[in-house]
Every structure is written in C-alpha cells, then in structure tokens.
Symmetry: C2
DNA sequence: CGACACCTTGAAGAGGTTCAAGAAATGTGG
DNA sequence: CCACATTTCTTGAACCTCTTCAAGGTGTCG
C-alpha cells in the first residue's frame, strides 16, 4: 500500500498489454486508452502468501491481476471462513470494497504475483466521461454476481464429485482462454482452500480426487492435474442426481 | 413488459416515497431527485406467481420493489435450480442482467407486488452526470456481491440448523428495518424455496423447523413464525461446530 | 366437497465428517 | 547439503447428518 521509491508511478502501457482485451472495455479510441492508462496509478508486486488487501482495510483501489494467482476469502465474525474465489491473470479483484469503503474479504497471493492498482475514485471520475468504461465497470460487477450465483448452485445442489468436477472444468476453461492447456493444470491452492471453496472437508477433497483417479478421469501428481477424460468429467456434473 | 394504456408513464414521486432512503442515493439536491424520477419509466403490478423477468429475457431495466415479496432463482443448463435470494420492499432486482444484456435468472413474485421500472440506459446516462447516483449504483452492485458471499459461507460451512437460524435472523432483521416486528414474520415462500436457497431438501427443512420448535426457540403455525428466543437462534449459528 | 399443492413424519440408507495415524513434500538451520 | 521440523496430503474406520423413499396429514381454492 505504501508508495516507496521502488514502486513509483510508472507509465503503464495498457495499449500494448497482452491482457488488453480481458481488462479494457472494447472499442475504445486510442486517446481514451491513453486516459485509462492514467487510472493505473501503480503496479504492485507480491510474494506468495502476501495479502493484496485484508478484511477491514480501507478501500481505495481495485486491482487487475497481471500475473500470479490469488484467493479471496471471507470470514464471519464468529470465525467461520469461506474461500469465495480464485483469481488469475486478467481478473479484477477488490470489488467487494465498494459498499462500505473498506474491504470485507482477504485477498492472498498463492504465488508471486503482479497487479495493476487502479484508483477507484479515478475510475469513477473517468467512467463519467467514457461511457464505454462505465458500462465495462458495471459488467465486471454484474459478472461477479453471476459467478457467485454459479457457486451457490454448486454449493446448494451438487455432490462432492460434481463439485470437484465443476471446479476442475472451470479452472481449465479459464486457463485455456489464457493460452494454457485445456487438459493440464497446476493447482496453486492447497486442498484446504479447495475444500473451503467447495464446501467440503479436506479429507473429502482428497478422497474425491482418489475416486476420479480410480475412474481414470484424471491423473494427479501432487498439485499437477491432467484431465484424461473431459467428457466423463462433464457427465459427472450433469448425471449425478438430478 | 408491455406498456398498455393502463400502465402509462406516470410521474412518480420519489421525493415523497417512503422508500426514498433505501432506494435513492443520500444527499441529492431536490433538482437531482426530480431528474431521478424521470428514470422510473413506469410501475408494474404483479400477481402472486408472475414473473418479473425470466432467464434469457432481454435486459432493459432494473426494478425497485415497492411492495410485495420476490424470489430469484438461477438454473443451470442441466436442470439444476438454485434460489439465489428473496427480495422485499426497497430491494433492487435485476442486476444480473447487465453482463450479457439478458437476464440470467428468474424473478417471481411470491405475493402480489408492485415495482418501479428503472430503465437501465437511462440510469447509466444519468449516473454520468450525478456522481452520487453513480456511486449508489456501484454500491448496490457491490452489496449484492457481499451478500452472495454471505450465502456462500452459509452453504459452505453451516449445518442445517445454523442455516435455518441464519435465514430466519436475516429475514427478521430486514423486515425489522422496514418497520415490522423483529420477532414475528410470515414466510412468503414455500418450504421448497427455503430448501433450495439453503441447500437442503424439503424434508430437512421441515425437520429442522421441528427441532427449533422442540427446543422452544420458535413457534411455527404454517408460514407464520414467531421467534421466542432470538439469543438461542444466534447461538445456534455461532456455537454449532466451529 | 373434492382435487391439488404443500407440509410433516418415520425408517432405512448414502454421503460426508470426524478422529487418528502415517506418508509425502517443503522449508529451515546448522 | 543433509537432518529435522513443519506443512500438506492421504487413507482407514466409526459415526453422524442429511437424503431418500414412502405414507399420511393439513390447508386452499375452485
């Protein structure tokens, strides 16, 4: 959060960023893109385990992930905790902070990471002038809601195997659109994180992986996962129960 | 959705609406309020069971509930369904539609209801001029996200009894801020709806109510609920497990 | 009054949790 | 670079919660 000499205001080149399509609204003029670059007040590097922000911290900015992998988790006053999502390059993080002017969840880097810091007031101001940006911000927020509804569906109606299958399919799909393999991935989170996210105990996560291996659907070497039969994974989600 | 002669463009008096504080951004000048009233392009009356909007329907407006009670539910392609929330007077509904320009869930009136229809393009345009409105829209979206995280926590980490307790506390608390009793409520939804929302089968909902009755915590007469021991309800949420 | 939707209750069973122990990987300090 | 501590993951067995299946009760509305 500090702006030390080694984290100066840099001129970021959104225009040449490979995440441009994920991150910026479509159809902006180059002059508009130039103004948007001003919003990115700085970049921040994080080491594995670092907090990008914490519950209760004052909300000033939202962040676009340039590289690395994050988890967000939400804690209730009485000590319950729930991992609410995993974020990767191009994802935007920190939107929960808008309501109360402080963050209400924790964002933790699961590997060394780099983010663009976008000052929220600045975004607000600029989106009053660039309607494409305004719409983009709304869509990002709305997408988050949609996404959460998907997780609620998973938590509310799926069995362990379908949850894990959905999780793996979702991750590979997102990685695939970022140029990675559609059938192989390295999990950056612990089984505990997965368990929290999917609403199951760590032992159940482990056993469910074991079941998928047994059925010849995936290959697991630690956190390295290879999907051998994607169709079977999809069928697991659909068939199981009703 | 149709603009028949009996549902004309009316001049709505937001300025004198009793929901004003819930619905409008705080600290607007009276001229700004006047302009906001233009956003409310019409009002719509719904009978119990009517859809306010449906999955797949083109997104044009968001709605503020003036009276009545709604549920929103989200269905996956394979036929799973999840009730994602219950909405009452002052709540805003339809925000899920922004991302894809069409609605991705169903909103159904659980009793006769009345809503203000707010044209979304109009809101966008006006919030470019009134920064208080812009911020308000963002906050409403962000609050929705926060809310969903709370439900994820519930679904991911609570037992049946804690889920139901949380549900009842949440409902009464919201009703209380709207001037209703903090200890009595009439459920507008079926046990099935509750079950879907809380991720449990209808039989479990029924049995869990039975348990709460047995413990002397609530009194249940059909859909009429009276909370006899609110502290005990709260303790159920906290104590149960860890 | 009869039909239908909604709700409750019982008994049996499945799926997931808990507790416990050990294996495998990772990190740390000498 | 190895030994040791720690974290992370796996597996087994007993248990418990919730689900499933089945039947019957209650309320509502034409």
């Amino acid at each position: 959060m500090d702006m030390r000499a080694d984290a100066p205001k840099i001129n970021v080149a959104c225009s040449s960023c490979h995440l441009r399509d994920v991150c910026l609204p479509p159809g902006l003029s180059s002059s508009e893109v130039a103004r948007l670059e001003d919003v990115v007040s700085s970049q921040r590097r994080l080491m594995r385990g670092d907090h990008l922000f914490q519950n209760g911290e004052r909300f000033k900015a939202i962040y676009t992930i340039r590289s690395g992998f994050f988890k967000t988790s939400f804690a209730s006053p009485d000590g319950r905790e729930q991992v609410t999502g995993f974020q990767m390059a191009g994802d935007i993080i920190g939107l929960d902070g808008i309501v109360h002017d402080y963050h209400s969840c924790d964002a933790i880097a699961l590997e060394d990471a780099e983010v663009c810091v976008m000052n929220y007031d600045h975004i607000e101001a600029l989106s009053r002038e660039i309607s494409g940006l305004q719409r983009h911000v709304h869509k990002v927020l709305s997408r988050e809601i949609l996404n959460d509804h998907g997780v609620m569906l998973l938590l509310g109606s799926m069995r362990a195997e379908a949850r894990l299958a959905t999780f793996l399919l979702n991750l590979t799909q997102r990685l695939h659109t970022r140029g990675f393999s559609p059938t192989e991935l390295v999990l950056r989170m612990t089984r505990d994180d997965i368990g929290s996210y999917l609403g199951m105990k760590i032992e159940t996560v482990s056993r469910t992986f074991a079941k998928l291996i047994e059925e010849g659907i995936v290959e697991v070497k630690q956190r390295h996962i290879r999907i051998l039969n994607k169709e079977a994974l999809k069928q697991l989600v659909v068939l199981e129960k009703q």
